[in-house]
């Protein structure tokens, strides 16, 4: 637990590339042609390795029982990628582990607004809602 916190404090993660969840799915098809395209200023952001590393570290911390460290990793990732549903789902899992079912459900509902129709992510998000009701 102490070691995990020290790693967190060091604030440096070597790319691990051992993520269990892949990239978020492509956007769901929009009606009609020319969907209201959210254009970026520059090409696709390559922030995934940072987000994925933090997600991996957060999940590992949760599984080892260090929920404070897990929360810190996931919140840090959310500041980078607030629309990544995986992070809201993982934060919900942490809340569940803490026994905070209300927050777990809220995180599940938030994740559901971001899944873009991906069935696996929707199932994971709904589980947080069902688990707590």
């Amino acid at each position: 637990m102490r070691a995990a916190r020290v790693v967190l404090a060091i604030g440096l993660l070597i790319s691990s590339g051992c993520s269990t969840l892949g990239l978020p799915p492509a956007p769901a098809p929009q009606p009609g042609g020319g969907a209201p395209a959210p254009a970026e200023r520059a090409p696709v952001p390559q922030t995934m390795s940072a987000t994925t590393s933090l997600l991996t570290a957060g999940r590992a911390a949760r599984e080892s029982g260090d929920l404070d460290a897990a929360t810190a990793y996931i919140e840090r990732a959310l500041r980078i990628a607030p629309n990544d549903p995986r992070l809201w789902i993982e934060l919900g899992e942490i809340k569940l582990a803490e026994g905070d079912t209300a927050q777990a459900e809220a995180m599940g509902r938030k994740a559901l607004t971001l899944t873009r129709g991906d069935p696996a992510l929707e199932r994971a998000a709904r589980r947080l809602i069902v688990d707590t009701s």
Partner: protein, 759 residues
């Protein structure tokens, strides 16, 4: 018998002497106990230090090389090709390499890092460590932004004894107190020498105070030059010397001595003075910089290097000479240091480095959980959410905007809040055009009518009634409401015109008052007040019809909270300015975890947000929109209060909510609309932020239909006026035969164009 005759007198004298000595001893002992008690207590009096959020570096981050360099400069990093010391960096082409600083306290520290950051097209392309291995994400040491110092205005940054450069202590002794190691708190030889000089000059001119006496004076006494004060001071200094080691007294001195004044804030101690004058930690200072700080001991006002650079330089060089005389430094080192400029950071840096408005918010958030004495004395470390770059952008844009708009108007004031909607973190807060000064914090405390900023809540309430979608039509026609007191209220539109039958979408985007009042009255003012009440504002709203047009007084902070909830898809997050609090030993005392609360159906919020995008594309936010890059999609809303007294603009991108307000403290009309006044500042800020388009996906299961903006009919997505809106399956309107706007006459198109141009 002469001795007999004399004896009573001698006895009386002896008794008198004994009583006097006893009295003096009792007095001295009492004084000594008082001094020790005070010293022990004050020895622990360390204001909480507040840090900004650390800069995160990772591949893909929107950050240019020059912006990183600016941030490093703000952190006081020095350009050095060898990267040998902490807090240094070098630049070569598109690559920045740096050696970060150790950060944190006690057991909660981050080690220094050697990083190589490569840039490409305004983004971080890669981050690697000294061995060339890829680094997924790294944090720099956070910027110290202030401390929670007591009301009497003393601010200091405590330096641990082992962090005090020995050059500093040696130089202090050389210049201020050469016999510090051997005297007993007072230095009779120095006193005699000074007395001689003073008698010769006929006034008290030369001080003979030891460092211990100076310490006593700073701790306990006023600065007036009287003999009784000097006696007290000497007695107290001796008392301190009896109780404490020379090392303890030296560290106390280094942390106690008054070295500068910054408005109402007194800068005490070399730790904070180092930050104040050089923007760097004390251990990183060079010889000429240490000498300048020592020069301040004799008179921070008289030797102020910003106001009196020549005096300060002369005094600094005197310090250097005395160091050379005592052979603390070589002649060559002396000459090199003497040739250096003062090297203080500029006035602008100093002003912008005191984030008065944001620290006020930090103090309030901490004040809910910690008593003031703990914050002012226990040496806590507070990790805040401030993003210094965003803060600098907010301050600069507000000041430039006010400067441009001020001529011919009553004194303008303003406020800016920038938040990250998904985390609720306040990244920047400006509470006044006088950014560096404490005072009335308009961002938190100015309650002003919000005007049309309220409208998204009216339309949300309409959607929540389940009787409307944004594709439905409403009459934008004159309307008269009879109020409870019998008076009637007949609001008009901004342009004085009525626009006939319009979609809810267009009525919100173009901020039509008559349509909004008709809609709100149909939905019910109570329902609107109830919807507003869910946004977490700590008050109830009376359901008067005027609420529909924003005759409700809210602070910029309240408004930011409402719009952050919209930006976050209907999930309310209480704004926060503090992430974590750590005690002096490095133990985390408290975290402020992310907590969210769903306050509205995500589909309804998504729909309103699409209308807020149209505000920027076609409606009242269009003028602000034209100053942003074409590809940057934003959502926002203008607000103008009655008589042009308040100009508001609230809007968001993917990662940032930005709120701007302009007004006059005396509530005089400023003659600016939300779009023209606050909107120009808003777009200036958004254009400079490292931010991406608002692109929240439709919530899972949402049925999106292309709707014509003007007619509300279902249409083809390729039509120029098509907007994708969530529509319930049973409510899909009939499909238009052709693109809606083709059927508009040229005249009404022109009218629409004028309406938009005028707003």
């Amino acid at each position: 018998m002469s001795s007999l005759r004399r004896k009573p007198l001698a006895r009386r004298l002896a008794a008198g002497l004994a009583i006097t000595i006893f009295g003096v001893l009792v007095y001295a002992a009492a004084l000594g106990i008082y001094v020790m008690l005070e010293f022990e207590q004050r020895g622990w009096d360390v204001p909480a230090r507040v840090y900004a959020a650390p800069l995160e570096l990772y591949a893909g981050r929107l950050l240019s090389r020059d912006d990183l360099v600016t941030q490093l400069e703000r952190l006081g990093y020095a350009r050095a090709d060898d990267l040998a010391s902490q807090g240094s960096y070098r630049v070569a082409g598109d690559v920045v390499e740096l050696h970060s600083r150790r950060a944190g306290v006690g057991d909660d520290v981050t080690d220094p890092l050697r990083l190589r950051i490569e840039f490409s097209a305004g983004r971080v392309a890669a981050v690697s460590d000294a061995d060339g291995r890829g680094v997924a994400i790294a944090q720099l040491d956070p910027l110290l932004i202030g401390s929670i110092f007591p009301a009497h205005g003393e601010d200091r940054l405590i330096i641990a004894p082992e962090e005090i450069p020995s050059l500093l202590t040696e130089a202090l002794k050389a210049v201020e107190d050469r016999r510090f190691e051997s005297h007993i708190g007072v230095d009779p030889r120095a006193i005699l020498r000074a007395a001689w000089v003073n008698i010769e000059q006929g006034e008290i001119q030369q001080g003979a105070s030891t460092l211990t006496q100076q310490l006593v004076r700073s701790y306990f006494l006023s600065n007036e030059q009287t003999w009784s004060r000097k006696l007290h001071e000497a007695l107290m200094a001796i008392a301190l010397e009896l109780r404490y080691s020379k090392d303890a007294l030296m560290s106390a001195y280094v942390n106690e001595v008054y070295l500068a004044q910054d408005g109402g804030r007194a800068i005490h101690g070399f730790g904070l003075a180092s930050r104040f004058y050089f923007g760097r930690p004390l251990p990183e200072l060079e010889l000429h910089e240490i000498a300048l700080l020592i020069a301040q001991v004799r008179g921070p006002s008289y030797y102020d290097p910003r106001r009196h650079p020549e005096r300060a330089l002369a005094r600094r060089n005197l310090v250097l000479r005395q160091m050379a005389e005592l052979e603390l430094i070589t002649a060559a080192t002396h000459d090199a240091a003497r040739a250096r400029e003062l090297g203080i950071v500029g006035n602008f840096d100093k002003r912008s480095s005191y984030y008065a408005g944001f620290l006020d918010l930090v103090r309030r958030q901490l004040g809910r959980d910690y008593p003031r004495e703990e914050l002012e004395a226990k040496g806590l470390t507070v990790y805040s959410t401030l993003d210094p770059s965003v803060q600098a952008i907010g301050e600069a844009s507000l000041l430039a905007g006010i400067d441009a708009l001020q001529p011919g108007r009553p004194e303008l004031e303003g406020a800016v809040i920038v938040m990250q909607p998904a985390s609720g973190e306040v990244q920047a807060l400006v509470g006044s055009r006088r950014t560096g000064l404490d005072g009335f914090n308009r961002a938190l405390d100015a309650r002003r009518p919000v005007g049309s900023l309220i409208k998204p809540v009216v339309y949300l309430a309409a959607l929540e009634s389940e009787r409307y979608s944004l594709a439905n039509l409403v009459a934008d026609e004159p309307v008269t409401i009879v109020l409870d007191d019998g008076r009637s209220w007949a609001p008009s539109n901004f342009d004085g015109e009525s626009h006939g039958t319009v979609t809810l979408l267009r009525a919100l985007a173009e901020s039509f008052n008559q349509a909004t009042v008709r809609l709100g009255m149909d939905v019910g003012v109570e329902a609107v007040a109830e919807s507003l009440g869910r946004f977490g504002l700590e008050r109830r709203f009376a359901p008067f019809p005027s609420l529909l047009l924003g005759a409700v007084e809210l602070t910029p902070y309240d408004v930011a909270q409402i719009y952050a909830t919209f930006a976050n898809g209907g999930f309310r997050i209480p704004p926060k300015a503090v992430r974590r609090i750590v005690d002096a030993a490095g133990v985390t005392l408290q975290r402020y975890p992310l907590a969210i609360e769903p306050v509205a159906a995500p589909e309804d919020i998504y729909a309103v947000n699409q209308a807020l995008v149209q505000v920027m594309e076609r409606g009242t936010g269009r003028s602000a929109r034209t100053r942003l890059p074409d590809a940057l999609r934003t959502a926002g809303k203008t607000g103008t209060s009655d008589g042009f007294r308040d100009a508001w603009f609230a809007g968001f991108t993917n990662g940032h909510l930005v709120l701007t307000w302009l007004g006059n403290d005396g509530n005089a009309p400023i003659g600016l609309t939300g779009a023209a006044g606050a909107g120009s500042i808003w777009s200036d800020i958004v254009g400079k932020l490292e931010t991406t388009s608002y692109d929240a996906p439709p919530p899972s299961g949402t049925n999106l239909v292309w709707i014509d903006y003007v007619t509300g009919l279902a249409t083809d997505g390729r039509c120029p006026d098509a907007v994708a809106l969530p529509i319930g399956n049973g409510d899909v309107p009939p499909t238009a035969a052709a693109c809606g706007s083709d059927r508009l006459s040229l005249g009404s198109k022109l009218r629409g164009w004028f309406e938009r141009a005028l707003q």
